[in-house]
Symmetry: C3
Subunit: 302 residues, 3 copies
């Protein structure tokens, strides 16, 4: 879990994914030689800070988002949300501005969020939860499992992937902004239009920790039934533990695929977590295992 810990310690909220992109490009450079199959690595200003890996003759694309939720410093240390962070008095927030490292504490005063840091922080500075990776029994706890665990899963998948695309995306937590052009570019370049959304979901009344990876039949958006049914049918044959999720809220990179000008099918598949968007995001290790196993299986069968 060393790689996951490293991924969870990198500050890269929506709009500033560059540090994670640089880490990933470096990781790929160092590790790809040991992978079963060599991908073509696409990175250019026409993909902004996204990275696309193309293996063999791809039929399906995996989308994992690099960005995390966070906070932007406005005036006099007042904060605006990046995405939808859960805010609680006392949370430790870190960042960097022209005066050096920032390490402060979130205060909530009359519903306003303010950083207590002993000095005025530069406008526009981004803050994220202070890294705090823990293994506790069957569980991993850390800020930003959403979606560094998706990124981790995609990197592990890359080790043996023969045919397929892996796309590392931006802005997922804050309304989107990269998947629309990736949807166009991947469709036009590879004529691929099947996708899996490699992201983290919630423990709820219907989805428990430790019971297997969740296949989402819908969230706020509704994917094409035929495609989701095909995935469920394949998964049943695999023997991999899984749970069916049916929610009325929440969205993912699948939303941008759904609304794009290209006929993408999408299905969200990911481990469930407790305490989403807090510093204590918590996932059961067995759900991580079944998530990775299912991605390996589906990328072969779909």
């Amino acid at each position: 879990m060393h790689l996951l810990k490293e991924l969870c310690s990198i500050q890269a909220p929506s709009g500033n994914e560059e540090p994670l992109k640089d880490f990933l490009l470096d990781y790929i450079r160092k590790n790809a030689a040991s992978w079963s199959h060599q991908p073509t690595v696409y990175t250019s200003d026409d993909l902004q800070d996204c990275i696309v890996l193309a293996f063999g003759n791809p039929r399906t694309a995996v989308f994992a988002h690099m960005d995390s939720i966070g906070f932007t410093v406005a005036y006099n240390n007042h904060l605006h949300p990046i995405g939808s962070p859960y805010a609680k008095d006392g949370y430790r927030l870190v960042g960097k501005d022209s005066n050096g490292d920032v390490d402060g504490v979130l205060k909530i005063e009359e519903e306003e969020w303010i950083l207590d840091a002993g000095r005025i922080i530069d406008r526009g500075t981004e803050l994220t939860f202070k890294p705090n990776f823990r293994e506790e029994g069957d569980f991993i706890l850390t800020p930003y499992l959403d979606d560094r665990l998706g990124v981790w899963t995609a990197l592990k998948l890359a080790e043996t992937l023969e045919n397929g695309i892996i796309a590392f995306t931006c802005w997922e937590e804050h309304g989107g902004g990269s998947v629309a052009y990736l949807a166009r570019w991947i469709y036009e370049t590879f004529h691929v239009k099947q996708s899996l959304i490699c992201d983290i979901t919630w423990v709820t009344a219907g989805v428990e920790a430790g019971k297997g990876v969740a296949i989402s039949m819908r969230d706020r958006m509704i994917p094409r039934k035929k495609y989701v049914n095909k995935i469920i049918e394949l998964t049943r044959q695999s023997g991999i533990p899984f749970q069916l999720e049916v929610e009325g809220a929440g969205a993912s990179d699948g939303r941008e695929l759904q609304l794009s000008a290209y006929p993408w099918d999408w299905c969200f598949i990911g481990a469930p977590e407790k305490d989403a968007h807090t510093p204590d995001e918590c996932v059961h290790k067995q759900d991580i295992e079944s998530m990775l196993a299912l991605y390996k299986y589906l990328m072969e069968k779909l």
Copy 2:
């Protein structure tokens, strides 16, 4: 009205339009020979479950959505909305899961929607209002006039259409997802960018049943004035009864055209109904007549 009754009995909520698509392809196969002009029928996985009919040298495209509102079964028979159904204690809902037909009753408990069906229904099962087609005097009452009446109008229009496109679309009731790619594909293939949104609107303070088809000057979205004015001007010359609608809420497939990456003009034209999104959607027969007459007229003149 046998065809309309049949259309209103097919279960095809947003995301699972395949049953209606299959019915339409079968209907077209059986009936197109008797039409005045033979269309090219486009149906392929690049259009997902949409169907496009192209007649002659098209200048204008008609969009009619196949999907309906409905409900998705979540955990322990709790329900999430597909689109925005009106929910009332006692509504009959039907569907099908791995154990066979589902026929239950909607219960509302503490603002939660629950299906009372005597057994636990499979997660992800879709439910729709139980078919109940009625002719009562001047009116037709049935679930899903929205938008099976639009589909019916498009099929009737097809009987004599010489030049034009008819597109049967998906996901209209649930945030869209097909018109964005149809907008691209039709524009690129035919360079058509004029459209009519063949859908059902509401009886309101300003639009009455029996007074003629409604031409919407705006809803939540605002179409280009010049295009709407041209349509109103043509309609005045036609002698067909019509009403001008001006709303601040509601949206249609026109919304996706408005926001698409192609310069589409759009105008919503449809019969007004009472009790929208209930099992008792109700339209005046004369408004159906003027709706069809206006589509025939405009597709020639525009």
Copy 3:
């Protein structure tokens, strides 16, 4: 300020930008000969009512929206908003319908907006605030500085621009509808993907009148940090007075670029105003000066 006054007197709410388009085409025809460099003027039905000016070898595009907020007359003089106008009892609203000029007064009754005009106005008629241009000391007050001041800035920029694109856009105040296709067309035609959003922002706790043009680091949307930082760095070197803005709400044409299927970078740069979306929008003259100066500077350096 004669040109600005003229621009602020033209009625062109979202969806009916044609009058302003016609004015601009006429202005460009009459004035372009005196500009340092001659642009290619793009105007065609494939751009609807937008205008694009292309100078030299463009690297960056400036977007200024032509439309304003306003009101649509519904039934019995009830009004629906176009965009988000501020409404107050007694505001003078003007327009034109089949019976001639409309000049009425806004009344608010039980949260409904109604036009008091002595007669029933045609459905669909658009109303805007009555023109009322004032210079008061250091300030300009008038309805529709948002965004006629952006349009004015773009026209002044055109006088000396050597390389760059200026796009006059539609529907910005009402959810968008033109920037999505401009984003595609400009990217495909010129491979330009850098942009500046030439629009008006708000005086707030952090941004004061008279302290210089505002560079927005974020609003409801979050642009790519790397691009915004580059602009701030260049601006620091310029010596032009400016202020950094950080907001959690509000959006602009930048939103459509962010969500488009092309990898656009965008940054909002504009003078701050008091009393936005009222008949008394108010901007400090020095902020207009620094806004124009910064556009000239950045279009050279970026």
